[in-house]
Symmetry: C2
Subunit: 175 residues, 2 copies
DNA sequence: GTCTATAGATGGATAGAC
DNA sequence: GTCTATCCATCTATAGAC
């Protein structure tokens, strides 16, 4: 069973992702988490503490994901492209939630996302040995992500990306 | 001299882009535009009317941009890639502002952005005659855009994209 | 650790003077 | 067309009971 603390962060993220920061009020979060506002404020004394708690979780998840990507049997590029299609995982949700906060000029959130991207880029560059290609692949995956975030129509994109990456000889990076 | 109406929309967009929807309150918009709240509410009777007014401007600008892209002397791909680096133009700002609103599950904003992307894709596909490539280029430019939106570090990306697109023979599409 | 009650500030919106 | 004054709902946060 998840701790109350985690359920509150889950609720905060769900509201950020689903309806944006404006809708993620303390009342709404408490309601979504099934606690009273007072109960929420016991765990997170201010709204800003919710943000900090969420970014802490993001960093933890990010470290684990980079390790998984590095060790992926299908190669880091395929792993990265496939997992960028926004599967709705807990990690996805936390990333998108952090993106919402970053857009409010929150330097901590921007920093956390930047660090994540740096870690991924490190693995891509390591396996591809081609910096320009690694950066371009990262951009493509950013876009798959962000389009998903914004609810834009994108079913056609992933097959197109696979086609072009195959053309570039970038898909199979196993030694 | 810009009309008061336009100055108000400019202020609304500036706040959305700079500090997010949460900060774009009627008070803040009125202040930024140099009018009173009452003055603002004469032109836009509710906050939602600000959103509608902004999306109307976006559509107007979008039509003009697609025409410019189609007629660009350097070819549509180059035009599209170069203008995607977030130059800070009025059109840029309105697009990003619309993106902020779209993230709050506003179907009208998502629709307006989707229509814009459709128009661009049409021009790309027309000049490249390669759908997979057109879609991938659009994704790359989405990402250049979105990373700029979120204040992520991206100076290294544009040269990388030029390199890879040249490798794909996609940069010069002039007949 | 969780709740209710409430304070104090800020938000969106109306009324009416100029 | 723009302003001030004001209303009411909502938001963040505190206090204190259980």
């Amino acid at each position: 069973m998840a701790t109350t603390r985690d359920r509150i962060l889950d609720a905060f993220e769900a509201l950020l992702v689903g309806q944006g920061s404006r809708a993620a009020t303390l009342d709404a979060v408490a309601d979504e988490a099934g606690v009273s506002k007072g109960g929420l404020l016991y765990h997170f004394p201010s709204r800003d503490d919710l943000v900090v708690g969420m970014l802490d979780r993001l960093r933890e998840m990010g470290v684990k994901d980079a390790e998984k990507m590095r060790a992926a049997p299908q190669g880091a590029v395929s792993y990265y492209v496939e997992t960028s299609k926004h599967t709705g995982s807990a990690f996805d949700r936390t990333m998108i939630a952090a993106a919402r906060i970053a857009q409010e000029s929150d330097a901590r959130a921007s920093r956390a996302l930047d660090d994540l991207r740096d870690a991924w880029f490190g693995v891509l560059a390591e396996q591809l040995d081609d910096e320009a290609l690694a950066r371009t692949i990262q951009l493509i995956c950013d876009a798959l992500y962000f389009n998903a975030i914004m609810g834009l129509a994108e079913e056609a994109s992933l097959p197109a990306v696979r086609t072009v990456l195959a053309r570039l000889g970038a898909l199979d990076t196993r030694a």
